[in-house]
């Protein structure tokens, strides 16, 4: 092997790693931008960004790509300045950093594709240097009393500094709980909640005082808050004298961006605590605890084990009953336990819910940066996104939404002059709206007012007619399909529409649909379950294996006898050849017809379709319906209906269409969860091919 080959291999590895790091850097920047929008800071994101830039500089240096090294180095300087200042970058710095990272991404791509690598874009390095020199807005510190100063964390100081920049008044006050106050419903919890509603609580410090006969409980609380409320309002909330509320930064005299004291950053050592965000404050007097998702996952894993052992308990009770034992009492206990388990499950699920808007934060920056790079005028609207969703579902959903939004900006929204010419507002709109629907589902709708999808062009490209929106969606989401003629910098790489479908349908067990009108726009609807953890399923036996399917997709189950099937001509054979087994693909499945409620519906042997069985012992059929089209699958026998904990199986080794996940029916072995909708599509395709 020659040296050249080795270098080529290394370049490939560089490209893969560099792309990941660029993506990570972008994510950090998005986070920082969102924080700026909220008037908070994310020192951790700034540090992540710094680390990403540093790594990419090192990587690029190793293979001698000087332009990347230069840009990364300049950005590093900029970010280091921000990190030194406790994590503050201003909007203009973010803008410049985005451009810089974009330029790095372009050059990484050029390296990967073995093209010549351009010098850094003209003016970019200068712009970055200028932003760095501007010093990322030196932080002013509110003139807070020294006894407070020492007790604030860097994050809290940051919060104060930002308040100072935005000229928000800062106050200190004390609250003393007493029996009198308690009888009027005024407690530290209510004070926190009500102050939280009119401003931001920076810090609450309890302090011991002498307990008095007047009912004081021996503790008082000193509070430091940022609020636009008047002194009187604050005093009333805290049940304190008017002059007990001291304006540290008075409403009128707020010094704006003037610097009174440069912020002390020497204390920034350990990870500063996350700044308090307005949204995180309790609504009605409840305390809030931040918990890592992994801990909730752990809790849920324990719960699933409990649910599994409950199945086993029921099984044991049944076999005792079969032996003629009196099991009424124990069954009663088991039933109570079942209800308690359900309540526990609900409580855990509730703990995992987050507002959708929280997860959608990165979208606004995405739209902004896409609009710039594709020279479109676009506005993002979020609607009804205070609906709640399991954090895990939300996290999985985000890549799908990012892709849809990216597509909308890149391909759907017309250039401003075209829009004006066709009588549309100059600024295009991409809207993400959320709608809670029955059955514990949430619909997330991504709408644009762009040009709409050109069915004729798609039909031409797919070489098949497109009569309805279901077919359109099928074509759009088939792997590798793309309408893009010219590769753009933002789209076409990585995720395709097939991924959107996979996330929505296979990973989350939801539904994807599209409506589009030429010249008016397109709407994609993602209907996803609010939680994914527990699913109501039918279990059944098919050949040597048992499977489950989500109960919601099954329209009906009926007894089927071989003589009820009408086998049309050319229906193929229902036996499996050994070659088919080997081919790791399903064989051609025979579609027959069956009469059901006055309609002829296609019916297919699930065993044959999955290449695991001849389907001769099949005695039951499950009917599913999608967009009015029904299809029936025959299975050997039904086992039952139960609630199971579904785990996604996303390893590429077992990433097979039609298989949505795995569950444990109580025997300690995985049982496959089938996606009958997808299998229906496969059966239809096999049937006609």
């Amino acid at each position: 092997m020659s040296e050249r080959v080795d270098l080529q291999e290394f370049i490939g590895a560089f490209a893969v790693e560099a792309e990941e790091i660029v993506a990570a850097a972008n994510t950090s920047l998005l986070e920082i931008d969102v924080a700026i929008g909220q008037g908070t800071v994310r020192p951790r994101a700034v540090r992540d960004l710094f680390r990403a830039l540093h790594t990419i500089k090192g990587l690029a240096g190793m293979i001698g790509v000087e332009p990347i090294v230069e840009i990364a180095h300049a950005l590093e300087t900029l970010v280091r300045a921000a990190d030194g200042a406790g994590g503050v970058l201003d909007r203009r710095a973010v803008e410049v950093a985005l451009q810089g990272i974009g330029a790095i991404a372009e050059r990484v791509r050029a390296v990967a594709e073995r093209e010549t690598i351009d010098e850094a874009p003209e003016g970019l390095l200068e712009a970055i240097a200028e932003a760095a020199a501007r010093g990322c807005a030196p932080i002013a510190m509110a003139p807070i009393p020294p006894e407070w100063h020492a007790r604030l964390s860097p994050g809290e100081r940051q919060q104060l500094a930002l308040a100072l920049q935005t000229s928000d008044p800062v106050w200190t006050l004390s609250f003393t709980p007493s029996e009198t106050n308690a009888s009027r419903g005024i407690t530290i919890a209510s004070v926190r909640a009500r102050l939280g509603a009119v401003g931001e609580i920076v810090k609450v410090i309890p302090r011991a005082i002498a307990a008095t006969a007047g009912g004081q409980t021996g503790v008082a609380f000193d509070l430091l808050i940022i609020s636009n409320a008047t002194q009187a309002v604050i005093a009333e909330i805290a049940a304190t004298e008017l002059d007990g509320v001291i304006a540290v930064v008075a409403p009128a005299a707020a010094p704006g961006r003037q610097i009174t004291e440069v912020m002390d950053v020497t204390g920034v050592g350990a990870e500063p605590p996350a700044p308090i965000e307005r949204d995180d404050l309790p609504a009605v007097g409840r305390a809030v605890v931040r918990v890592e998702l992994s801990r909730l996952d752990e809790l849920q894993d324990q719960l699933s084990l409990l649910i599994v052992s409950r199945f086993r308990l029921e099984r044991e009770i049944s076999s005792l009953a079969e032996l003629g034992h009196d099991v009424r009492r124990i069954r009663e206990v088991a039933q109570i336990q079942g209800r308690q388990l359900r309540d526990l499950r609900r409580a855990i699920l509730r703990a995992r819910m987050v507002p959708v808007s929280e997860v959608l934060e990165p979208l606004s920056l995405l739209v902004r940066s896409l609009a710039r790079s594709s020279q479109r005028d676009v506005r993002l609207e979020l609607d009804g996104c205070d609906a709640e969703l399991d954090k895990a579902v939300a996290d999985r959903l985000l890549p799908a939404l990012i892709h849809l939004v990216r597509n909308a900006v890149d391909h759907a929204i017309e250039p401003p002059e075209h829009r004006v010419a066709s009588g549309k507002p100059r600024v295009g709109t991409v809207r993400v709206s959320c709608l809670e629907v029955a059955g514990n589902f949430l619909e997330v709708i991504v709408t644009d007012d762009g040009r709409g999808i050109d069915r004729a062009a798609i039909a031409l490209r797919a070489k098949r007619p497109i009569d309805d929106e279901a077919t359109l969606l099928e074509v759009l989401t088939s792997p590798g399909f793309s309408t893009r003629e010219v590769p753009t910098t933002t789209s076409g790489r990585g995720l395709g529409m097939d991924i959107v479908r996979r996330i929505t349908v296979s990973d989350l067990g939801g539904k994807l649909s599209v409506t589009t009108h030429p010249g008016e726009g397109t709407a994609f609807t993602l209907r996803v379950p609010v939680t994914i953890a527990v699913m109501d399923v039918f279990s059944f036996q098919c050949g040597p294996q048992s499977f489950v399917v989500p109960a919601v997709v099954v329209e009906e189950i009926f007894e089927v006898l071989p003589e009820m099937l009408v086998v049309p001509p050319n229906a193929g054979t229902s036996t499996i050849s050994p070659a088919d087994r080997q081919a790791s693909k399903w064989p051609r499945a025979a579609l027959a017809l069956i009469e059901r409620r006055g309609h002829a519906i296609p019916i297919v042997s699930l065993g044959t379709l999955l290449a695991i069985d001849s389907g001769e012992r099949a005695r039951k059929a499950l009917v599913i319906q999608r967009n009015g089209d029904r299809i029936a699958f025959t299975v050997d026998r039904m086992i039952g209906r139960q609630e199971v904990v579904v785990r996604a199986i996303d390893d590429p080794l077992v990433n097979v269409p039609g298989i949505a996940g795995a569950t444990d029916l109580g025997d300690g072995r995985p049982t496959l969860v089938l996606d009958l909708n997808e299998l229906g599509t496969i059966a239809r395709q096999r049937g006609v091919s």
């Binding site: 294996q545 790791s584 399903w586 290449a611 199986i649 590429p652 990433n655 795995a662 072995r669 496959l672």
Partner: protein, 145 residues
């Protein structure tokens, strides 16, 4: 000399070695849930400590004829990046310190014949251990395909 802990196991008539750092644990093998439509060398899914893990049958992967399952069969659970997969082997052998500097490139003919699965050969007390390319075996290319 850099000595690294390796887990060794047997498939067919050959001994194989994997850096212990890649191995999460060893499990006995009873049965796996067949996954219709998965590649033929995927034995199926097993549940390992609450986690659902795909298992690659190394006999099938290496083109060896299937054998009756015995109590010696083991699943070597490996982690590659974020992926966790099981390797079904005929039997697990001892854990050895192998000197990485003594690894040799396999003869080219073997490398070709083994479809690149074998990356190096180690000799310990006249016994040969084949080092294998786990990402390749669990189909890392599937991730991008």
């Amino acid at each position: 000399m850099i000595r690294t802990l390796h887990v060794t196991f047997r498939v067919g008539t050959a001994d194989y070695a994997l850096p212990a750092a890649q191995v999460l644990h060893l499990e006995s093998f009873v049965t796996a849930t067949h996954v219709p439509g998965a590649p033929p060398y995927v034995a199926g899914l097993v549940q390992v400590r609450g986690r659902v893990v795909p298992v690659v049958d190394l006999r099938a992967r290496f083109g060896l004829p299937p054998v009756e399952r015995t109590i010696d069969h083991r699943v070597v659970v490996v982690q590659v990046g974020t992926r966790v997969a099981g390797l079904l082997v005929d039997s697990a052998r001892e854990v050895l310190q192998l000197d990485e500097t003594s690894f040799e490139k396999p003869p080219e003919v073997i490398e070709r014949q083994s479809a690149g699965f074998v990356t190096a050969v180690a000799t310990v007390a006249k016994r040969l251990f084949l080092l294998i390319d786990v990402p390749r075996i669990i189909g890392e290319e599937l991730t991008h395909g």
